[in-house]
Symmetry: C2
Subunit: 516 residues, 2 copies
């Protein structure tokens, strides 16, 4: 496993161990944040003591602080994701946290109530960057800022990644466990290229990241906007109802076809026979053979758009086979994705729980990555309407974070929140000067080191601290050692101590650290 | 130089080469952002073509996109900074981008007009996180959110770092080259410890980071809030004028004592003889011997607060000597720092230009890091007023970024924006399948690889791309190679090509990459 250099080896080993366990019954909605608990505690304690501050100390609704433990997990996940993006030749890009309000609202239309606006303090009207795919529980950060960047700078070709925070004014009571501030990781390829090569790379990237994160078995559902539109057309859906029917179909991963059909007919006024025809299609899923089958379908093969989509999917499966990931991908005619701006292939990765009994159906624990082709978005920002075709993906890092966090709580394992390699200790009084001189040498040699900020600490608390924090080595200096020109080097795990010549100490520590 | 693993070796070598050059006449204010230029261009082009969008596509005032080239520089700087924080045992922490408005405004008082408020969309009143030390051109992100975190979670002891964006509604026309959105990097030690040990570590950290960044020579000015207050008291400044006089003294790094004295007397109504007495003190700077001298000062030694401050500074210099950085630190009685919440030692690092002629005074190019002790801030958030002493520092990454960016423009050097190690090429038609199979193998082995998204690319553009992007290796596959079961491996720099057995290719590439 390459590119995992950010964390201390042992911490990652422990974290990976946790990631490797089978998902089991992961309950994503149930994660209670650290700050929410603290908040509740604090609010109840504050009531009788508000003379000091006349407001409650809390984080804003739907937000939380990330504790050091959570930071380690997030950093690790982001490291796997960003390393993969870089492995595929992506450049980094960053955009401001807010955009002109009109740029965001022009795109998001009906849902703009979920956008955080900034107060009009004179000057431009601004809004925090946002994304729209909350319906399908996923996360899109950068398509709008990215499209704005390409149009503004007249960039015609770019492979970039973007990691950053986005904000959404969702009601946390309605969507449990969903935050109003969260991280997003996007990868996109902009430019006019031969068909399906970048699209296949996006799916390959999703497979690499989900495999490396060891979240358990996963499946990527693929469909094409043009196939879906073709199905609606040949089944006799009036064009004015495409959008509404599409959003019904999108619910097939959560509710049964019977319920979806009921919604189409009763709520959306579709003729029952049209709904039944749709049902024949959207309940299909399979591999490349299903693509071939649809090519032969007497109705669908009459629709030009659908044929284009099927042709592209065929090519996509061919490339995915070369990439060795075709068996992870399923052509799923029910996949609709929420966003109107997709124009071609669309995809969504879900974790699949291993069934306990052979006859059980695998259960989805939710989508953890998604994306698709959006060839029209950049043109909407360009004054002359020049289009730049784009395809991309977004990794649902918050969802993944919740799964990992929940799993770590379930298994009660501890991970290190610091990377300290050596602790500088003394058993005697009046050794602060020696400790400071010694630790300075370690820092200057690039060794991660700590000491106690006390003039005369006792030895036991120093050793306990190392055990609690997982620090592997302790150097101990005392009167005897000073006289003999040596330092004691102690392994915290084995409690073994050896005397090392003072001048060889740094080299010896570096040798031990490189071996561990 | 340890901990520099994030970037491809060669990219960092080039970047470091640029960082290592002497600062020369760096003009910080003159950096024009990429997006500002694009914006101006775009605005002028848009006027006659606004039928497509009825608004101008731009980033909000005072903000910019960070291009891939800028992202590499920022990532590199942040990597040096964060590695150092981790080397000193700090844990990571993250807080939301916005806080309850009352938490921020309670602290910032008069300057709250510079805070970005969020629009009242029902619910809590929120503001984007902000910092206050814009007067002294520096950057404080996390003291308020950090203090809020400690109070809210009743944390009594913590060594943490925080890297994140903050926002300030400054007028970019008034403060040229200053942005409204920028990154901050803070390190703080909270807790009750023996005096000056954590304080000395903060200064050591500043020295390590500034040395590793190779920005040129630097100096850290140190003072103590209590010494400054003691000076004002013994010179006869009325207590009501302490704040105003302090902010005049703070200007001594920009304007002469004559002008500062004039401001004190004419604008702030101080008696001329009081101003002269202050002048005798605040024009002094030196090392540990100046501390000793002030201990003997007949007036100052009568002031209890000043004596406490001097005692602490003496201890501080002792520890800095053990850390080997005392010669980088200057006791400067004019250093005041803007923020009221500092309670003890304060410090600020400035870059020092090497004088061209021996008789020239060294010139400051501005402060690049700063901090101090703030023992009262956490108590302001605690309902019972429980105090948690804190000391910390902030690295002025945006200032440092501007210096590096400017220097790179001056020297016209190019840095790599991707980390791609191998390009998969072909000189012949109909080799897409082979290229896809091959690149997939490379990705799966953790090798960073790219190919052209074309069915039948020409060889020359493929090789040119590698030269332009600094990709070191090319693998070339064609009919002949396929027949013989080999792949050609080409070094872009030497243009040397060797045939490698297909099954040995990955191992050979890994060997070459580990050697380079």
């Amino acid at each position: 496993m390459p590119q995992l250099g950010l964390l201390h080896g042992r911490a990652w080993t422990v974290l990976l161990g946790q990631l490797r366990r089978p998902p089991g019954a992961v309950c994503i909605g149930a994660v209670r944040s650290h700050s929410q608990v603290a908040e509740a505690l604090f609010a109840s304690q504050l009531k009788p003591h508000q003379e000091k501050s006349n407001f409650i100390i809390k984080t804003p609704k739907g937000t939380r602080d990330l504790s050091p433990q959570q930071m380690v997990v997030r950093e690790k996940i982001l490291d796997v994701v960003v390393s993969c993006f870089k492995r595929h030749g992506a450049k980094g890009l960053d955009t401001p946290a807010f955009e002109l309000k009109e740029i965001l609202t022009e795109k998001y239309g009906e849902d703009s109530g979920l956008i955080y606006d900034l107060k009009d303090q004179g000057g431009e009207l601004l809004s925090l960057r946002y994304d729209l795919t909350y319906r399908s529980s996923l996360t899109y950060l950068c398509e709008v800022p990215f499209a704005r960047y390409l149009a503004m700078n007249k960039v015609k070709k770019m492979k970039r990644y973007h990691v950053g925070k986005v904000w959404r004014r969702e009601s946390p009571t309605i969507v449990q466990g969903r935050y109003r501030e969260f991280y997003q990781c996007d990868f996109d390829i902009a430019g006019q290229f031969d068909p399906m090569i970048p699209d296949a790379e996006c799916l390959k990237i999703m497979c690499e990241i989900l495999s490396e994160l060891h979240l358990g078995d996963f499946l990527i559902k693929v469909n094409d906007r043009r196939i879906l539109d073709g199905i609606f057309a040949v089944c006799g859906v009036p064009e004015s109802k495409f959008h509404a029917i599409c959003s019904s179909v999108d619910k097939l991963d959560k509710i049964s076809w019977k319920d979806v059909r009921h919604e189409m007919v009763v709520k959306k006024g579709l003729a029952p026979e049209v709904a039944d025809r749709i049902g024949d299609y959207v309940q299909c899923h399979g591999g490349i053979s299903l693509v071939e089958q649809m090519f032969q379908d007497p109705r669908l093969s009459q629709n030009k758009q659908a044929l284009e989509g099927l042709g592209d999917l065929k090519l996509l499966f061919e490339y995915l086979t070369l990439f060795g990931v075709a068996e992870k991908v399923s052509f799923d005619l029910s996949l609709a994705r929420g966003l109107d701006y997709y124009t071609g292939v669309i995809y969504e990765a879900v974790l699949v729980q291993t069934p306990v009994h052979a006859e059980e159906e695998p259960l989805n624990v939710g989508s953890v990555a998604a994306g698709g082709r959006y060839d029209g978005l950049v043109g909407m920002f360009d004054p002359r309407g020049h289009k730049v075709p784009c395809v991309g993906l977004s990794i649902g890092v918050e969802r993944i974070f919740s799964i990992v966090e929940q799993r770590m709580k379930t298994f009660g394992e501890k991970i290190r929140t610091t990377e300290t390699q050596v602790f500088v200790a003394t058993p005697q009084k009046n050794f602060l000067q020696e400790r400071l001189k010694l630790i300075s040498e370690l820092w200057d040699a690039g060794i991660k080191a700590e000491l106690m900020y006390k003039n005369n600490p006792k030895l036991l608390p120093q050793l306990h601290y190392c055990e609690n924090m997982g620090i592997p080595l302790v150097v101990i200096i005392g009167e005897q050692e000073l006289k003999e020109g040596v330092i004691k080097l102690r392994s915290v795990a084995s409690r073994e101590e050896v005397a090392i010549k003072r001048e060889n100490l740094v080299a010896e520590i570096q040798k031990r650290l490189s071996e561990s």
